[in-house]
């Protein structure tokens, strides 16, 4: 993108082939538009239906979450991380907790770690289902959206069982989990794992056997791989371009090294390849979850770190020390030793990083989020230029951005 597009500017008329003059048209797509998935504004310069230039304008959903984190204690800030990417809430919880745990030098007990893996993979399925539904809806396959949301409902029910919330879970806490597994929680997950894999095949039957779907996606939204890397695109976007980068494999965190799974890649680098990669990722998530469910350890769900983790209610009532810790944690918050940390995880959308600076108080000095949507949205221009308006929609859908994640 060399120059920016000025909305409303009168463009110079250009001589056309048949002797007359033509003028390009600027189109303001968004911030309110059915296909921009929130409040993204895309400025398009059009030559007929062909997109000459595309320029994403972000910032319409800026919530100041990064700044707000500085006013909250470390424990309180977890609830804000849910709201960054509201489709991958637990991934954000996990990344933040891992970062703070790294600063504190504590580790969650095995049961908490395995539960975290289990639920984060469930989050991936949740997010991919929403992506699949909305992406198909954008291309006109209306029913897909309802099938995806119907099955996502089961995921949300499991989230509600574990955390009491469907969307803003805040289930992971520094040093472990908020609560132990609810009664019947693991059974519900097991039931879901039996119910879900046939559904993936069903979605694929509906879309893959459809020539219109293939026409709309194959060869659309291609951009050079080097440019993708330079612009910071991650996740399924680059895996569909043949780069097997996945933080779960390459920088294992939260015990992912114990699990056996593949990183699906494709080489076509088009919308269809991204669709295939995400479908395959859902299958891999099921695989990881099955392993996590089978090997779920017994034991404590919170770390043995009295200065960080709230004591059990019973201990607080009977032991002096526990009462003191409880008082300190509730009134002051957790004091984190000075330092800075950067933690990366693989969120459903790509590489999610939390950079936290601590000045030794109970509130973070700075929290910066390296969010995958922000990186992925950079590719919108090169991906859409030269295509038709309909291809812009397909390419935007394949990016799977969440505007809350982009603007923070």
């Amino acid at each position: 993108m060399s120059e920016t597009i000025t909305p409303g500017a009168t463009l110079e008329p250009v001589a056309s082939q048949d002797g007359g003059t033509t003028r390009k048209m600027t189109l303001n797509m968004g911030p309110q538009h059915p296909s921009t998935h929130g409040v993204l504004r895309v400025l398009l310069e059009l030559d007929g239906e062909t997109v000459v230039k595309a320029q994403p304008e972000i910032g319409y959903l800026h919530t100041g979450i990064e700044k707000q984190c500085e006013t909250k204690t470390y424990q309180q800030a977890i609830t804000l991380t849910d709201r960054v990417d509201y489709l991958a809430n637990l991934s954000n919880n996990l990344c933040y907790c891992l970062a703070v745990e790294k600063l504190l030098g504590i580790e969650a007990p095995p049961r908490a770690v395995w539960t975290r893996v289990l639920l984060t993979e469930l989050t991936r399925i949740n997010s991919h289902l929403v992506w699949l539904g909305t992406h198909a809806l954008d291309l006109g396959a209306m029913s897909m959206f309802f099938y995806a949301t119907r099955d996502r409902e089961e995921v949300l029910k499991i989230f509600e069982m574990f955390s009491g919330q469907r969307l803003m879970t805040s289930y992971f806490r520094i040093g472990g989990l908020a609560l132990d597994h609810p009664r019947g929680g693991l059974a519900a997950v097991k039931k879901f794992l039996e119910f879900f894999p046939p559904k993936i095949d069903e979605y694929e039957t509906l879309l893959d056997n459809n020539p219109i779907w293939k026409n709309r996606t194959i060869g659309v939204g291609v951009m050079p791989v080097e440019q993708m890397l330079a612009m910071g695109l991650t996740g399924p976007m680059i895996r569909a371009a043949g780069i097997p980068w996945d933080a779960r494999k390459d920088e294992p965190y939260s015990g992912y090294q114990n699990f056996e799974f593949d990183v699906p890649t494709r080489t076509e680098n088009d919308v269809y390849a991204r669709y295939r990669v995400r479908m395959e990722e859902m299958r891999q998530s099921v695989r990881i979850m099955t392993q996590a469910l089978e090997g779920m350890p017994e034991g404590a769900y919170q770390a043995d770190a009295p200065k960080v983790v709230l004591p059990q209610r019973e201990k607080m009532k009977t032991q002096m020390e526990a009462l003191i810790y409880h008082f300190k944690i509730v009134t002051e918050g957790v004091h984190v030793p000075p330092g800075e940390v950067y933690q990366v995880i693989e969120s459903p959308r790509g590489e999610l990083g939390y950079y936290i600076v601590s000045d030794g108080t109970s509130k973070p000095f700075r929290v910066h989020m390296r969010t995958p949507s922000f990186g992925n949205i950079q590719g919108l221009g090169p991906m859409c230029e030269g295509g038709l308006i309909a291809d812009t929609i397909a390419a935007m859908g394949s990016m799977d951005f969440v505007l809350g994640d982009t603007d923070r």
Partner: protein, 402 residues
Amino acid sequence: MNFFLISLIKMGIVTAAFMTTLAYLQWIERKVLAHIQSRLGPYRVGPHGLLQPLADTLKLLMKEGFIPSHVNKFFYLLAPFLAVFFALISICVIPFGPSVEVLGVRTDMGLADLSIGVLFILAISSAGVYGIALAGWASNNKYSLMGGLRSSAQMISYELPMAIALASPLLILNDLSLRTIVNEQAGFYLGVLPRWTIFQMPFPQIFSFVIFLISGFAETNRVPFDLPEAENELVAGFHTEYSSMGFASFFMAEYANMVTVCCMATVLFLGGWHPLFPSTLGSDFVPVLLALAAGAMLLYHGVAQPISGRPWDRLTMPAAGVVFSLVGLVFLVPMLKPFLIPLFWFVSKAGFLMFTFIWVRGTLPRFRYDQLMNFTWKFLFPVAILNLLITAFAVALQEPKS
């Protein structure tokens, strides 16, 4: 005098029936789509949302008809009129049934029997594009403009294969009057296979039927050819700037076009009101049996084995069962039989086609603009011409009719 009176009565009946069909077609579409997508659809207004169309109409009527300041007012207001006028007018040449005698008066079922009925419908449906194109242009909105342009290009392109697909059955039937066309399709081969155009010798018109249907999807701007109003690309396309009855007119025009296309396909290819199998084999009892079966099922689930826990279903389901059974018995009344049975066959054929329209909408994604054009010019058009050629040869080689 007599002619005027009869025509007036027929006009009243057809208008009322057509308008109700349009309103309830929308309800049926929402219900069918909902069940395809594992939802319930309209459920609140009346039992099973049956009064939803009424509520929608009332709501749209009472909304403010807002005219944006930047539009070309004359054409902006003219466009919905044109759209709805051209959509509604074509119903007047469609024959719904044979000549019947009511209270001693012999009359055709249908408003008019033009000797050039097919040409009339083609002309009218081509004119329908003006409403959309003008709406897109007059709205002075970029999305509308693109919707209007897409629509004009699409409708003009798909008119060609449609007209050519229509030409082939006309070669066989050798008439342009829709009533004669239907009458030509009466009778059965070997006593079972109906002589509908899609089965009729010398060359069964199954291909032109499919081409006609596909072009029909494009002509009515339905999925997968709904590019002019592709919500996810052009917001609402050509009717983005319309509110209240302006919007409702476009909506109505779309459904009216759908009904017309389905009626046309029924008349030209599916033998109009002629039954699927001869009445000697009992085709007259099909509606009776269908209605009785539906009634029995409703009664069974309403009384003997309730499938829902809602208290009023205990009342409404048996009531509906009784109504269905009575409707079934009405088909047995000798006085009503001559026009109810043909009407049943006509409506069920057209209804099945309409269901196909909705079914496709629940299944297929949307084409891209260039793919749409490629599809019509590089595939549909050549196939239609090939079909026409083969039909022409077959007709020419056939023994000349006396």
